[in-house]
Symmetry: C2
Subunit: 597 residues, 2 copies
């Protein structure tokens, strides 16, 4: 049976000592986020995840969801009770606006909780996760009437939400969707079409489900420019807001998948279902992007969360399982063998996991804080800077952190040896669950194209230069302190590779977009490696400062410095390889004719 | 439904044009391996794998194996009939000695067939796969009576074999096994103990199962020096060789696993079962290593085989699925979208798979040929050289090629997007199946320790120097031909990284073995990257020679040259990163105290 303990200490360190969110105590929402309140919220949240949600992770994977003949879908045993407790505890309301019943805590705090929820049970976490995207989209694009009608119960968690984009022939290419919307003359539309891969499309956890559905209004352009967004509830509402008639939307099937079995992945049929336009006609894609950007950060947290629990179980096993002897002679001469933990290659795996995960956690929380600042910073200038930064880094967080999650889950399973391949030990579930995060919400290759094709060019390159400047300043400051100088210097080299790669793209991709496409993935990896290196430098500096003081929490901070050095010494070297790969250009990738494959 | 076509053309290319096995036509076994015979054998073998075995791959995964209350185990529907056809077709006999009914074809030919069998159905392939290890061990260590008794029916496939090493508390560390052997006074032993993870430990495919079991004879040293190897048949034989009494060995449980569901992974109970010593008392580990070395090359082929079928299905999907438009403008203006194949990042994934797999195939077949030469070369000197080379490269082939198999399966699944996560499409099965190859037969980290701790030091470094010389000669020859010069020069740089890393190990690991342990995995990867680069240079040279002639098969050879360049440009750069990582030394990996994890 796997174990899980929420990494509260590490979260607090990031919020208080690295990101120092108390700097923003003057901003709306942050006034509620004093260290004391945050600690109370997160430790209660940790307890809830550990005690209520986590025990259902393996059983939910085993049992999966069941679609009955009447098209209802049952979630695994225990999910309903846990979800009720989730709602009762107010866990869905953390980051939501007070105007609609939310607690209006900063995103950086609710993101920390989301990580715990994912670790405890990724499949379960997706039910509220999809709702959060629906809330974002309605906050950004819904009419005030729509907001008043739907938001309070979505935020309380009494109702849940979904995102309906994909159709069998239209995944990444949403311009090809066929779902149709016919105006009914009363302001509503009749929605007809088939959607697939709809997470939480149908289930027994909430009394209503609010579907956000991409479709085309009759006569609209047959491209992405003709897509509109519709709100289609499972149950229509009576004039008093109570649950009314069943709408003509139903689950046609649930998919059997590699993992996340506890989440219902539905094929949804819309048979003239009543829906309402959200935002403007033919601007559905923009509305959906609001939802997707929030969702992409959330998916980054999934990579982190699944990686974290896999890592914790690898540590536990490495400390307990005894095989072989330390290379330097018996570590535990009284035992028949030493623990796996003494073996350098096992330690290497653990250090790689630890350095990637703690760095990824810093990057995810940094990203969530930028989202807060993009909305809430005191000046327009500051809001714009934050918005630029998070726009640039969103594809990196989504793709690089989910790649990390899968790699960490695989490494953690490896430490368990053959026992990691056995279902009852739980390690292989983490690999199966982590895998989807690299695929959905825009496959990681699509994220790379977004980064290179759109985000880099943002504001004529001003955003990427601002990003380099931020890191450059951190490096300059890091180099003057002996305890961080080595990390700073190694990061400087990696940043140099990233800058050179950026220059290469500027010189080679504008005239030949295939050079951009062929370079995209290596470029994203390179930026991810540098971004996490930057986080490690920030952590190293924060911990060095503590160590220079009288703190008695030395071990924690010494470990941070040691892990920062590991990242700098053993992960940053990959930056140069990625640069050299991408500089090979499109010709390397595209030279063979189709028949050669 | 996945597709599969055995890569016959590529196999023939390697055997005839790259490895040029006709050079050895004077050696025993090779006289049977004329191009015509090999082509006939492999095309029949391909047909058998495609038509008989492959259709059971997905159904076998679905159904898995079933243990009944009487401890019998049923394989998935269709496996028994396919196995009977396998035996009837003589497919188990390809590489086995004629003296016991084998066809005595070179290993390099039977290895090619094994790849196809794995691609078609990895779980199925493991039943004969384990038998092959049993045959190896008996050929090397069995008495002539044991050989005469057991080999003919193992080779024909009428009986199957197993390897019984692991116990619940003893995996990598075989010194801790508790299985006991008590002499019965008649030359046989009573074997008592519990083994786990026994692939094909019990099933319904063969009339008898020959278990090779590691155990300790009463009074033997309680370490690896006290391990002996025993032959324990499921059924004892009557004096006339017919099937006699049931032996006291039974399957206590079958494991539920992440993948290879069609193979029965058994917990085996030995309750005073009758067994016979194979080889000398207390020399069981050496006997087992004979079996394991053959098995490790076989596991490398598993990585290759599963990667190959995953890749083929990724190609098919990329050419058929239409999403988005080419970056250079519509490729198929008459269609609503272009195929995935036109997108550079998709092509990158396909090229990475193609370059790694074709290179890995060359390396695996090269390795099999070295095994042949180690046994059959005309002079003792040549046999010793071949034995040195294959000993050095066995851990590299096992670990690096299985890492490639998993990475390729994951990339192939990625190309399928969300559809790759759905069970019925079959892509996720390849990932689950490929995963085990990194774990069993010595986890890949154990392979790295074997390489750095044992193989490098072999003959005072003479073997590794001989390996460098071989590659150096190929580079020198490659540099003088314009069409291979770039590949040769890039390989020279990567070889330089490997040589520098080797020097670093010599200078730093002898006095501090933890430096060796911390460096091991990067060193193995570095050697794998260079070894496959060497194979690509050999292929580039072979194809350049053909292209310089009048051959009308230009497209095939141009693709080889183009892929060689891709490998050189986009994969060899990783060599430098691995060197820099390992040069960070043990301190980077071991510096944190246990409490920091």
């Amino acid at each position: 049976m796997p174990i899980y303990r929420a990494p509260l200490r590490d979260t607090r360190y990031l919020l208080e000592e690295v990101l120092a969110i108390d700097r923003f105590a003057n901003l709306p929402g942050f006034e509620n986020a004093s260290p004391k309140i945050v600690e109370a919220v997160l430790s209660e949240g940790a307890k809830f995840c550990e005690e209520v949600v986590f025990p259902l992770n393996q059983t939910g994977d085993r049992e999966g969801c069941t679609r009955h003949a009447d098209a209802t879908v049952a979630t695994p045993a225990g999910f309903k009770a846990a979800y009720d407790a989730f709602v009762a505890g107010g866990w869905s309301t953390l980051g939501a606006p007070a105007a609609f019943g939310g607690q209006e805590l900063p995103q950086v705090v609710s993101a920390a909780f989301k990580e715990y929820l994912v670790s405890a049970n990724m499949a379960f976490s997706m039910y509220p996760g999809l709702t959060a995207g629906t809330i974002e989209a309605l906050l950004a694009k819904g009419s005030s009437e729509q907001q008043a009608t739907w938001l309070p119960k979505l935020i309380s968690g009494e109702w849940s939400g979904t995102m309906n984009l994909t159709e069998p022939h239209a995944g990444t290419d949403l311009g090809m969707i066929r779902t149709r919307a016919e105006p009914k003359g009363d302001g509503s539309y009749a929605i007809t079409g088939s959607k697939i891969f709809i997470s939480a499309g149908e289930h027994d956890l909430t009394e209503n489900i609010v579907h956000l559905v991409l479709g085309k209004i009759a006569g609209a352009p047959d491209s992405v420019k003709g897509i509109s967004l519709f709100l289609v509830p499972k149950f229509l509402l009576n004039p008093d807001g109570s649950i009314g008639e069943r709408n003509a939307v139903s689950c046609g099937a649930i998919e059997e998948k590699m993992g996340i079995h506890g989440n219902a992945t539905c094929a949804m049929n819309y048979d003239g279902a009543t829906g309402w336009l959200v935002g403007e006609e033919n601007k559905g894609l923009a509305a959906m992007f609001v939802m997707m950007n929030a969702a992409r950060l959330g998916v980054g947290l999934q990579g982190l969360g699944v990686g974290e629990i896999a890592y914790q179980n690898a540590v536990a096993y490495a400390k307990e399982r005894r095989q072989g002897r330390a290379l330097t002679g018996p570590a535990d001469p009284g035992e028949k063998a030493d623990t796996l933990f003494v073996h350098p290659d096992v330690r290497r795996l653990l250090m790689e996991c630890k350095a990637e995960l703690e760095g990824a956690r810093a990057l995810c929380l940094w990203g969530a804080l930028e989202v807060d600042l993009a909305h809430r910073a005191a000046t327009e200038e500051h809001r714009v800077i934050a918005d630029d930064m998070i726009s640039l880094l969103t594809p990196v967080i989504k793709a690089h952190v989910t790649d990390i999650g899968y790699a960490v889950a695989t490494k953690a399973q490896q430490i368990w040896g053959g026992h990691g391949y056995i279902r009852e030990n739980g390690m292989e579930q983490f690999v199966r669950d982590a895998r989807i995060a690299m695929i959905y919400e825009g496959a990681n290759g699509v994220q790379a194209m977004d980064l290179v094709g759109r985000k880099l060019a943002r504001k004529g390159g001003q955003t990427i230069r601002a990003f380099f400047d931020l890191i450059g300043e951190a490096i300059a400051a890091g180099k003057v302190d002996e305890s961080t100088a080595d990390v700073a210097e190694r990061l400087e080299r990696a940043l140099g590779e990233l800058q050179a790669a950026t220059l290469w793209l500027m010189n080679n991709a504008l005239g030949n977009p295939e050079n951009g496409g062929a370079a995209a993935y290596s470029y994203l990896r390179l930026m991810g490696i540098v971004a996490i290196g930057w986080m490690w430098l920030r952590m190293a500096k924060a911990s060095a400062a503590v160590l220079a003081s009288e703190s008695d929490d030395r071990a924690f901070h010494e470990a941070k410095l040691g892990t920062a050095r590991f990242y700098a010494e053993r992960i940053l070297p990959e930056a140069g390889a990625e640069r050299r790969k991408l500089e090979a250009g499109a010709e390397a990738v595209m030279r063979l004719p189709a028949e050669a494959f």
